[in-house]
């Protein structure tokens, strides 16, 4: 027997985890260790580890079929049987925990025979088409047959079997081929434990048992399945298989990168054949997603190579002209000349630009740098304006840093979770799965939202509170909750004393009777007792965490509400440790990053104000220019100035402002008054229909860089294929800058990150090298926190003490009235993303082909409306037509729609009302009237005409016969 005394082998618990390996069962979180011997190797592992995992850590790989390391062991296949000294029979190693001094044998003749018998049974009911099977080369059943040395199948294949069971290919991305199923139930357990959807069941018993999506009448498409892919990944055979692999074969190499859809920032292995992505598989080493994914990141990547991609630069002098396809040099020269002429004629401040929350940090940094250094003004803004700008303002004012305070993982330590104005199961699905896991473990849920969101329907949840407030009354609600905390003496006196300022004024304000739930009842329409019960639950929890989304920020009092949330967290001492905190759920993948990178007009990268001479001097020195010390225009100010005639040119990277910004007709008017609109995007989007210069963009698969997710985690984006249009976005910005006469000369995005690290104190120790070593970094990462900061504000706030803010409730300007008696609120759904430019170009359209107006049965009945009727929706800004969906998810008096399709014109109706501090538009409250109609709105008719005309301008441009534009 060989004894290993090498400490590296002996203290195996310290061995780094190999995220490409399946250890069979999940890691134990215990801090205690246990020492045992497996096949003569001494191993030390965490208590609670399974024998299977302990062996795997020591590179002893016990055969297994029903176990995999992202779900709990189940012990059904028995292939992992081992012998343990002092124990009878053959215990299954996946369900047996290690014990001090245990002695395990994983291989001997008896065990081998047992395993061969088990495999023989499996294989006798399994088609033998290995050579032509889509899993060939990546099949655990095949591997196990090899591992146990199966050589013959004595039972023959003529008995009862499942070999001709029908294939279910109703899901657009994967098939279910039951004849290959070994009923290991890994899929069922993955759907329950990892995804939390409970869409799959094992029907029947014994030989008759089979996997079924929903009831036996359902197929995958008609079941509750949300197409997250967890079951496909868990399946050891070809039963659940990506259609792309069936079509194209097994991938041959893989590269780790980051999803470009939402602010969760999931890590994926892009599995490739040459330069073609075959599938995206969630990466277990990704700290934001830990091996899970949603339908968007997992499957909806086909847009990247969609035929609509525009891959050549185009220019034109007026939007009434056809596009001219030109080379890069000519396009950039054309754009630079226009900008220079406009600035010469109308002044330095007559031009500006918009950075993208979809592009990388490095690209965003370059665009704002170009605007500040080459345009010479601060007219830079970003689409975060229309979603999370109030988060920046509100959190900076109260806790000193414009970012969420926690990691996603922190929720596993929360006892009460309050979700305000967010719908995580649709907008942040992977985080929602983790949250649901915690709720199943017993945490309480409080939902503050006008809608009955899906989270409230979480299976096996112990307690939940829904406070279904009227849209626009968030501040009234948060004040009422804080009032209860204070008036019932539930505050955290210690925390308040040691960590906060300006408490007395706030205390006096919040204790005012006008803030009591009883007084606020008429405003929020929520029963006061219900509010009191929820407030008590939150205040009494050991760890209370608050998660919020755009339902908080996209209001005229968005910033006030963010401060109200911070007040509540401060008053209850829920900040500075795991399980608590203030957590903004960011919409797009890099909203956090684009804010960090200085996209806002008043702040240089790292939230350093332009008027601060010392801070500005640092940038002036590095960039070699004099910078403007006054803030520039925000997006709505740019539009106003454009209509007024003083703002003439815009450079817009990766952002469809026409579709995503409110009051579409106002935006159309503004864009039409520009003399030069430069759009850089992967598609000829709606905004580009008004453009003079089109610069083809690159998708996240075509470039290197970083995204920063909602937990401040900087993740690497890695190039897996060459840019279709030759250059990555950062290269194009650099070329434009050079054409404008401001030299930029980066060879690789890592050099841009080095520059950022030299200028932004919270990034000072971030580098690509460190990112590669650690996998990801949560900023701040500097001398004080060299490995980054998972939890912020542990000891103190960047402003010293947390500051309470006075947050009086003011009614939304856009209130329901006689003419517009209903309140419209907008949102998103799981399968589509934002303006839909990407997801609409994938099979995700299976689930959402059009935007619908959801209306409560009472309101529908009053107006004689049925499902599927055409409805005219009008507000003081405009009107549009959508199809009706009668739904009880809404309260009566409130209607809801998504904005994923341009023809819907959902933003034709949204108004210019905005947050008082940041001008973030009030998408969540618009007073409207709804009635049955027979024809599209005037706007839709005009839109169709204009869009058709632009299509012609594009089609007739030489060389461009194939592609199509717009929707």
């Amino acid at each position: 027997m060989i004894n290993y005394y090498d400490p590296a082998t002996n203290t195996t618990s310290n061995k780094p985890i190999d995220f490409n390996k399946d250890y069979g069962t999940p890691a134990s979180t215990s801090t205690q260790t246990v020492c045992l011997e497996i096949d003569g190797v001494k191993i030390t592992v965490a208590a609670g580890t399974s024998v299977m995992r302990a062996a795997a850590i020591a590179d002893i790989n016990i055969p297994k079929l029903c176990a995999t390391d992202n779900i709990e062991a189940f012990g059904s296949c028995r292939l992992c049987a081992v012998q343990i000294e002092g124990m009878r029979g053959y215990p299954t190693s996946c369900t047996t925990s290690v014990k001090e001094g245990m002695v395990v044998s994983t291989e001997n003749n008896d065990i081998a025979k047992l395993r061969r018998n088990i495999m023989e049974l499996y294989i006798s009911d399994h088609p033998l088409d290995c050579l032509t099977c889509s899993s060939n080369g990546d099949c655990e059943l095949q591997d196990m047959a090899g591992a146990v040395g199966l050589r013959e199948v004595r039972y023959g294949f003529d008995g009862d079997n499942h070999l001709d069971a029908k294939i279910d290919d109703s899901n657009p991305y994967f098939t279910f081929e039951p004849s290959k199923c070994i009923t290991c139930s890994r899929c069922v357990r993955a759907c329950e434990e990892v995804q939390g959807t409970f869409a799959l069941t094992i029907e029947g018993r014994g030989f008759a048992s089979k996997v079924s999506a929903g009831t036996s009448e359902n197929d995958f498409a008609s079941s509750d399945c949300v197409s997250c892919g967890a079951c496909v990944q868990a399946c050891p055979t070809a039963t659940l298989m990506e259609k792309s692999v069936i079509d194209k074969g097994q991938p041959e190499h893989s590269i780790i990168t980051t999803c470009a859809y939402c602010g969760v920032g999931c890590s994926f292995k892009a599995e490739m054949k040459g330069e073609e992505v075959i599938r995206m598989v969630p990466y277990k080493g990704g700290k934001a997603n830990q091996g899970h994914s949603c339908v968007k990141g997992r499957f909806a990547f086909g847009y990247a190579t969609h035929k609509d991609r525009v891959t050549e630069p185009m220019v034109r002098d007026s939007i009434d002209e056809e596009w001219r396809v030109v080379g890069w040099d000519e396009a950039l020269e054309f754009a630079a000349n226009k900008i220079k002429n406009i600035q010469a004629k109308y002044g330095r401040e007559s031009v500006g630009g918009i950075t993208s929350s979809r592009c990388t940090n490095e690209e965003t940094y370059l665009v704002q740098k170009l605007i500040r250094a080459a345009f010479g003004n601060n007219n830079t803004d970003t689409c975060a304006r229309v979603c999370h700008s109030p988060t920046g303002y509100g959190l900076k004012a109260t806790i000193g840093e414009s970012a969420g305070t926690q990691t996603f993982d922190s929720v596993m330590k929360s006892d009460v979770v309050m979700v305000i104005g967010a719908n995580p199961t649709d907008a942040h699905p992977v985080f929602a799965s983790q949250l649901r896991k915690r709720l199943r473990q017993g945490a309480e849920l409080i939902v503050v939202d006008p809608r009955t969101i899906d989270l409230l329907n979480t299976a096996h949840i112990s307690a939940n509170h829904h406070l279904p407030l009227k849209p626009g009354t968030n501040v009234a609600m948060i004040n009422a909750i804080a009032h209860v905390v204070m008036s019932e003496g539930l505050e955290d006196k210690n925390f308040i004393e040691q960590r906060t300022d300006e408490y007395n004024a706030w205390r006096e304000f919040i204790l005012d009777e006008i803030n009591s739930p009883e007084a606020m009842e008429s405003i929020t329409t929520v029963n006061a007792e219900q509010v009191r019960i929820a407030a008590r639950a939150f205040a009494k929890a050991k760890n209370g965490a608050i998660y919020y989304g755009l339902g908080v920020t996209e209001h005229s009092q968005g910033s006030t509400m963010v401060m109200g949330i911070a007040n509540l967290a401060l008053a209850t001492g829920n900040i500075g440790r795991e399980g608590v905190g203030i957590n903004p759920l960011r919409g797009q993948n890099n909203v956090q990053g684009s804010c960090d990178m200085g996209s806002f007009p008043q702040e240089l990268p790292g939230y350093q104000h332009v008027s601060d001479d010392v801070l500005r001097a640092k940038f002036e020195k590095s960039w070699g220019v004099t910078l403007d010390n006054e803030p520039g225009f925000r997006i709505p100010n740019m539009f106003d100035a454009a209509i007024e005639g003083t703002f003439k040119a815009m450079y817009v990277q990766g952002e469809d402002i026409l579709q995503s910004d409110p009051n579409t007709q106002h935006v159309q008017a503004a864009l039409s008054s520009l003399e030069c609109l430069i759009v850089q995007d992967i598609f000829l989007n709606e905004t580009a229909l008004y453009a003079h210069v089109f610069l083809p963009g690159s998708s996240f698969l075509e470039k290197d860089g970083t995204f920063t997710n909602a937990e401040r985690r900087i993740n690497r984006v890695r190039k897996v294929m060459k840019p279709l249009a030759e250059f990555a976005d950062w290269e194009v910005t650099q070329k434009l800058s050079n054409a404008l006469g401001y030299p930029m000369n980066y060879q690789h995005p890592s050099e841009i990150m080095d520059e950022i690290a030299s200028l932004v104190p919270t990034f000072s120790m971030v580098s690509y090298k460190k990112l590669d070593e650690q996998g990801s970094i949560q900023w701040p990462c500097n001398e004080e926190f060299p490995d980054g900061s998972p939890i912020m504000h542990v000891e103190s706030f960047p402003i010293g003490k947390g500051r309470f803010a006075i947050t009086p409730y003011l009614a939304s300007e856009d209130r329901a009235n006689k003419r517009f008696p209903l309140l419209l609120t907008t949102g998103r759904i799981l399968s589509q993303y934002n303006v839909g430019a990407q997801t609409r170009r994938t099979a995700n359209n299976t689930w959402h082909q059009e935007d619908l107006l959801e209306i409560h049965p009472n309101d529908a009945e009053e107006r004689g409306i049925n499902d599927g009727d055409w409805l005219g929706i009008s507000s003081r800004a405009g009107d549009t037509v959508l199809k009706a969906k009668v739904s009880e998810r809404m309260q009566s008096g409130v209607v809801f729609t998504t904005f994923h399709h341009p023809i819907s014109g959902a933003n034709v109706i949204t108004t210019n009302s905005s947050d008082w501090a940041t001008n973030c538009p009030e998408y969540k409250v618009t007073a409207v009237q709804v009635e049955k109609v027979t024809s599209p709105s005037a706007w839709q008719t005009r839109y169709k005409k204009f869009s058709a005309q632009q299509k012609e301008h594009f089609k007739r441009s030489p060389k461009k016969q194939k592609a199509t534009i717009g929707s």
Binding site: E349, N378, N379, F509, S556, Q557, S559, T560, P601, Q602, H609, S611, E630, P631, G632, F633, R634, N637, D640, A641, I643, E644, T646, I806, P808, L810, N912, W916, A917, T918, N919
Partner: protein, 71 residues
């Protein structure tokens, strides 16, 4: 300077005021409004509203007038 743009600036100022005047004197509110405008408004927006305050100013509250005087 179009009237609609001035109207926008005025309503933005009103919003800033009403969100910050809880139990405050006009002088205190003015200071907050002035700081906010200094920190977040573009040069031309400040110039336009000041021009309006000097020439007409009828739609501005006392606190906002005080604030604009501090720019």
């Amino acid at each position: 300077m179009s009237s609609s743009q001035i109207d926008n600036l005025i309503s933005m100022l009103n919003q800033i005021e009403t969100n910050n005047n809880y139990k405050k004197t006009d002088e205190e509110t003015a200071m907050i409004v002035a700081n906010h405008v200094k920190k977040f408004w573009a040069r031309s927006m400040k110039a336009n509203i000041t021009k309006y305050a000097d020439s007409d100013g009828s739609q501005l509250s006392p606190a906002i007038k005080l604030a604009l005087a501090q720019l």
